[in-house]
């Protein structure tokens, strides 16, 4: 504790430096500059999994080509340690929903997600995966994968440029690094109340049944009359 006080930054004067010391990232960086390492298992864990995000080798539509382009020499997703595109969901950490999810494909996407081991992350890449995009009015197009899956990062664009995917990946890494492993907002796989398997919709006579997973997604209500 005395060390943190010696690093005379304004941040350390807060109540955080009293009991139950949990320094913020800024405080940590400041301490690091003074040669003091503050660490915990939590930080090691988050550091490890944020720097080794292996995506599933899974492409849906147009965005998949840009996803491939992001792993190619010009953009080289390998710099972030993410070029290990695993073909089997068992070894993947990240599901990049790259393209239009049709109703015929949606159950398979959810099955793939269920087959991935925790901790796992989901990126909705492109307008179609976010909301159905230009094909939203189509009868066979799912209006956003977030109706069935918990999405961590949304990358807009039609299709997003490879740089956008890299940015999304970096945002995901930052999100992982910021996670607290205890407390009410701990990640999904450390909670007892949420299951890791999501219900797979059935093919109905006219539509998928159910059309959305109510635990993940609620239909927005019309915010104005009319």
């Amino acid at each position: 504790m005395s060390m943190s006080e010696s690093a005379s930054t304004p941040a350390t004067s807060g109540p955080a430096s009293q009991e139950g010391f949990s320094p913020t990232q800024q405080e940590r960086d400041e301490l690091r500059r003074h040669g003091i390492l503050l660490t915990s298992l939590e930080e090691l864990y988050n550091w490890g999994r944020s720097n080794s995000v292996w995506p599933l080798n899974f492409g849906l539509a147009c965005c998949a080509i840009e996803m491939i382009a992001a792993s190619m020499a010009r953009f080289d997703i390998a710099r972030f340690g993410s070029e290990v595109f695993r073909p089997s969901p068992r070894q993947a950490d990240l599901l990049i929903v790259s393209g239009t999810v049709t109703k015929k494909m949606a159950p398979q996407v959810i099955r793939l997600w269920n087959q991935m081991p925790e901790p796992k992350y989901c990126i909705a890449m492109g307008a179609c995966a976010i909301s159905g995009g230009p094909f939203k009015q189509g009868y066979n197009v799912l209006k956003g994968i977030d109706r069935y899956l918990p999405v961590d990062i949304y990358i807009p664009g039609c299709p997003p440029r490879p740089e956008a995917l890299l940015h999304g990946l970096m945002q995901l890494q930052a999100q992982i690094r910021g996670q607290k492993l205890t407390g009410p907002d701990r990640p999904r796989h450390l909670r007892a109340d949420t299951g890791c398997a999501y219900p797979v919709p059935e093919f109905g006579a006219h539509d998928l049944e159910p059309p959305a997973n109510p635990e993940v997604w609620q239909a927005p209500s019309l915010p104005r009359s009319g």
């Binding site: 930080e43 864990y45 490890g48 720097n51 080289d76 340690g81 070894q91 950490d93 081991p117």
Partner: protein, 431 residues
């Protein structure tokens, strides 16, 4: 001057290096301190123990050192492989992962650590209806057999964990058992892709076991011993005082080395023979249903197997820990071994970055119709080489010519047969 006969029976090694050898003067009379460094360190650790306990303690230390050394080599190799692949493909490769807690970017050196942390903490999934016991045992068995093979390789003049009389036999016996583990993994996963991969793996590994073994027999024949240490010692002489007498620099040795190298590519499931985990065909093959640390164990075992086979290739054909030139002998032998090993591993990675994959029938055809006959012919050539050991003067080049012809002729014939009907084509254009 020469050692008493009794002693030379007791110490075959010593007699090989005996003062009767005209090259004894070139070799260092005694090992340098650097050469003895590993033993000195071990002595510091176990020297205080009673003599009867020392043997056990030394063995334990050897085991721990082997595992730790190769586990860290594995970590480095994964990074090296990604970097080499990146270099071949005109891109930087992993270079971000900052060192933990320091935010220091060191060319991605921390990448394997991050991967390791993540792998350790991943959820372990066993599919419904899978054979849980075998599913659990397969990676462990594979790793165990791979580590066993590492035990008999002489890493330096004084460094061999298990110096058996028949260590070559031991090596291939333990290595062959890995096939069982791969099949276990494929069968226990209850996945059709895994099963297909397991069948492929069996067909492939058994096919290549034969040329692998047959390519070693000439070495055993020439060295007159099944002990890896002796085989390395036998390669420690010099032609004309400066050309190393490694077996790879003889016609039969070169052919044997190439057969061994190709077969070991196949035995370690490396491209272009990575059919059991052919990504574009069988998802991830026998690894399809493995997640988390079990998958990491498989990965590790694959690299251990690769290291073991490369180490064996170095031992059998590339002179083991011997220095390539007499005046370089001051560098400790284990460094020479490490250098040769890393170079061979680099070739493995280079090949992986360059070649497409064979089909399973072409793969087995290559083994049975090309490598096995070639290895057998090589065996005959070695016999000729052995019989003509006393040819001297003008007969010496003749001996080389005959041996080279004995191998090159069948090589060309068999190779032509292998690629029958294939070739570049010419195309016509519409009028």
């Amino acid at each position: 001057m020469s050692l008493p006969g009794q002693l030379s029976v007791l110490f075959p090694l010593a007699s090989g290096l005996g003062a009767s050898s005209p090259l004894a003067a070139v070799l260092p009379a005694s090992d340098s301190a650097l050469e003895r460094l590993p033993l000195t360190l071990r002595g510091l650790l176990t020297g205080w123990l009673p003599a009867s306990w020392q043997w056990l303690a030394n063995s334990l230390i050897a085991i721990v050192v082997l595992i730790v050394a190769f586990a860290s080599l594995f970590a480095l190799l994964t990074l090296a492989e990604r970097k080499i692949l990146g270099r071949v493909q005109n891109r930087p490769g992993p270079n971000r992962a900052p060192l933990p807690f320091l935010n220091l970017r060191t060319y991605g050196l921390a990448q394997p650590v991050a991967d390791g942390v993540k792998m350790l903490t991943k959820e372990d999934i066993v599919p419904d209806g899978a054979d849980r016991v075998l599913h659990f045992l397969a990676p462990i068995a594979l790793l165990a057999f791979s580590i066993l093979t590492l035990a008999v390789i002489p890493y330096g003049r004084l460094l061999v964990a298990l110096d058996l009389d028949a260590s070559v036999l031991f090596f291939f016996a333990a290595g062959a058992a890995t096939e069982l583990a791969v099949f276990m993994a494929g069968w226990a996963s209850r996945n059709k892709y895994s099963l297909l991969a397991a069948m492929r793996a069996l067909a492939q590994l058994i096919s290549y076991e034969l040329p692998l073994l047959l390519s070693v027999v000439p070495v055993v024949l020439m060295a007159g011993s099944l002990s890896t240490s002796v085989i390395v010692e036998r390669q420690g002489e010099w032609w004309l005082g400066f050309l190393p007498r490694w077996y790879v620099f003889t016609p039969w040795g070169l052919a044997g080395f190439l057969v061994f190298f190709v077969a070991s590519l196949a035995e370690s499931n490396r491209s272009p023979f990575d059919l059991p985990e052919a990504e574009s065909e069988l998802i991830a093959g026998h690894l399809t249903e493995y997640s988390g640390f079990k998958y990491a164990l498989f990965f590790m075992a694959e690299y251990f197997g690769m290291c073991a086979l490369c180490g064996m290739a170095v031992t059998l054909f590339l002179g083991g820990w011997q220095a390539p030139l007499p005046f370089l002998s001051f560098i400790p032998s284990y460094l020479w071994f490490a250098g040769k090993l890393l170079a061979l591993l680099g070739v493995f990675m280079w090949i992986r970055a360059s070649f497409p994959r064979l089909r399973i029938d072409q793969l087995t055809r290559l083994a049975w119709k090309f490598l096995v006959p070639l290895a057998l012919i090589n065996l005959g050539t070695t016999a000729f080489w052995s019989l003509t050991a006393d040819w001297a003067g003008l007969l010496q080049p003749l001996r080389w010519l005959i041996a080279a012809g004995l191998i090159a002729g069948p090589f060309l014939l068999l190779g032509r047969n292998l690629s029958k009907g294939l070739g570049p084509r010419t195309y016509r254009y519409a009028a």
